[in-house]
């Protein structure tokens, strides 16, 4: 009933937002070279939010997105996470607000960060296995097992909070709509576990706790969720095996001689990737890197850091103190 209305309102908000953001980009474009790429990224995140929003309300198969995104991470790393993901956008906005409030961010110790990276594998495993387990518990007919993977209608607001909405959000679908066979696809995570608990109050409490926790954690640590979001493990896999080393096509490339090791790249990274700083030179494709290109944007040495796609340079660091690109 209210869904079309909400959809329209959201659509308007987003449209106005895009216009404002576009304006912002143009304003920033000429002024501050350390910010323009970041704002462009926010703009693209916003546009993709609209894109995702409409494709979801059109009841396209989200599973297609999931497969495409997972597939792409093999080749482009977590480009999706940095530039498209709506949940990432939400976290960036939270960071921006914190920044405007003048509150400092916290850093996780490198050891904790590394431990969180391992947590990704566990989360991924849980996600993959849980539908089967739940299916076994509930005696779902074999012909309907796939429905466990592909179910749940999408609430418009859900998109705001979820990267791959089904991966993250203990929300929507299952409670509101008990039909197993609506094909407005989902992918079970906490939500379905909650569904099988069958206590709606608990569900809503968990939802609020989840939202509050992500909000608080993101307020303290930049891009907190991304540090253990399993989306990035495919590139980790591609990097691990020798035969697959060719797979990541999108690389950060570092020229060793031009690097003075000033440490800016390490400090500005929202997920505290240290490889860009530590590695001597050449191609760098850490599995946690979001390809947000913040390090490239902030590196003050001409041509020291580059983003390469299959050997071609997309963007490179430059002396951001200079206002023009005149060579």
């Amino acid at each position: 009933m209210y869904e079309p209305l909400v959809g329209t309102i959201l659509g308007w908000i987003v449209a106005v937002g895009i216009a404002l953001a576009g304006l912002l980009v143009i304003l920033i474009w000429k002024k501050d070279r350390t910010r323009k790429l970041s704002y462009l990224r926010l703009f693209i995140q916003m546009v993709s939010l609209v894109g995702l929003f409409y494709s979801f309300t059109l009841s396209l198969w989200l599973m297609v997105f999931v497969i495409v995104i997972f597939g792409l991470t093999f080749f482009s790393g977590r480009f999706f996470c940095g530039w498209v993901c709506p949940f990432g956008f939400y976290m960036d906005i939270v960071s921006l607000i914190r920044q405007k409030l003048g509150v400092k961010y916290w850093m996780l110790p490198d050891r904790v960060n590394r431990a969180l990276h391992w947590l990704r594998y566990i989360i991924a495993a849980v996600i993959l296995i849980s539908p089967l387990l739940l299916g076994a518990l509930n005696f779902v007919p074999a012909s309907q097992i796939h429905a466990l993977f592909l179910r749940g209608p999408y609430r418009p607001y859900a998109i705001l909070l979820s990267p791959l909405e089904p991966l993250v959000l203990p929300f929507t679908g299952a409670i509101a709509d008990l039909g197993f066979f609506d094909w407005s696809i989902s992918y079970p995570y906490a939500r379905d576990i909650i569904f099988y608990l069958d206590v709606p109050q608990v569900t809503s409490i968990i939802i609020y706790v989840f939202v509050a926790l992500t909000l608080a954690a993101t307020f303290m640590f930049r891009r907190f969720w991304c540090r253990f979001c399993p989306t990035g493990i495919s590139i980790a896999a591609a990097n691990r095996f020798n035969g697959l080393k060719w797979m990541p096509l999108l690389h950060i490339n570092k020229v060793e001689e031009k690097c003075t090791k000033c440490g800016i790249c390490k400090r500005v990274c929202p997920v505290q990737v240290t490889e860009v700083y530590e590695q001597k030179g050449g191609n760098i494709a850490p599995s946690t890197c979001l390809n947000c290109m913040r390090c490239i944007e902030m590196c003050p040495y001409e041509g020291c850091l580059k983003m390469n796609l299959a050997g071609k340079t997309l963007i490179e660091s430059r002396n951001w103190l200079e206002p023009s690109d005149v060579k």
Partner: protein, 443 residues
Amino acid sequence: MKSQTAEKKYLPEMPQKEIDEANASVKSTSEKIMVDNIERMKKTDPNRPAAMKYFDDISNFFGQRKEEIEAEKAKGRKVIGYFCIFAPIELILAADAIPVRVNSGWYDTSKFGDRVVPVEVCPVIRSTIGAKMIGLSPYLELSDAVISTLTCDGMTKLSEILSDATQIWTMTPPRVKDSAQSLHLWKEEIKSIKTQIEKLTGNKITAKKLKAAIETMQKATKAFRRLQELRKGNPVIMGRDAMLVNQMSLWDDITRWIQKTEALCDELEKRAAQKAWACPPDTPRVIVTGTPMFWPDNWKLPSLVEEATPQGVLVGDELCSGDRILYDPVGIDEWTMDDMINGIAERYLMASTCPCFTSQDGNEDRINWLITKVKENNANGVIYYVVRGCMLYAMEYARVKRALDKLSIPVYYLDTEYTREDVGQMKTRVEAFLEMLSARVDF
């Protein structure tokens, strides 16, 4: 501003008459040398940029700038001196104090320093001690406190010796840059120096003020880099002139320095468009690395290179008194106090290529810096300048030579003293090196 009653640990008592006499004689020699140096710079490049006039004037130690600082001081502003370029200038500016670098370049004062430390000690140190003993350096005398970073052995003891006569704040840089604990130590040092600056000046360093200071320094870096960028092509400016401009950023009012440097760069760009070169484009291009050289006396090597036959031109240097001063900007992600302090700490420690650092790869930061400089500025040769007693630079020579040999860039090790006596002998050595370089250029 230590109380005069405190017992002196190092500095000898000198009768006031002797101090005055020494001061007067060294000062008059120094004034002559400054004029002479500038005259020689004008002679080398008859078509010298008009904007250099300002830098010539400001370079006089006993002239305009000294009076300006005195006037500011009378108004209640504090002056904070520093030795190494590890001192966080942004913090000094944010506290509304005046930063000045107080290393001494006077040859004649080193003989007074000999009374305190043996002649084997680095002449930069001896000369600075001597300058303090006879009260020669106006900037050192005007400093309310001096930030001394304990980089080399000389600096470590220098701060101890000078604390007899002035207030010294020491900062300990870690010798290894790449570890979490080093950075932690350095950040604490920066925070403690911040507290001390606030205490001395009575001004609280707020986020707003610090942001303004960082932005000023970023503008300075921008102007500074623009000048270095212009030295990459055919020579539009002689190396000595550029070095003078670079060094004036250490003493001058930074906002004014930015304006004047931008004006100079505008002029140079016009010249580049007109192809009005400062010297023939096939002049051998030389880069200097090693011990810092300070205006006015220690202008020996640059003068020799650019006045030699065959002539050479200094297209860059890897000196902490030259191209390294403002090269690195403070990059700030978020303008919060915490991030700004982190940014300042990292810029001064990690981007530094001082030989006091070591790493598993043999201080590769300095090597990389030099290689980039050599490549980007198309240098034909490198002069490795070391004053006797400067251990760290002397010891790194073998490492640098090997790295540059790989690029087949000739390196020449030139050691000297704080003296004018070896000018003739140095001239022969420099000319032989330039002869070889120009043969290579022709070839």
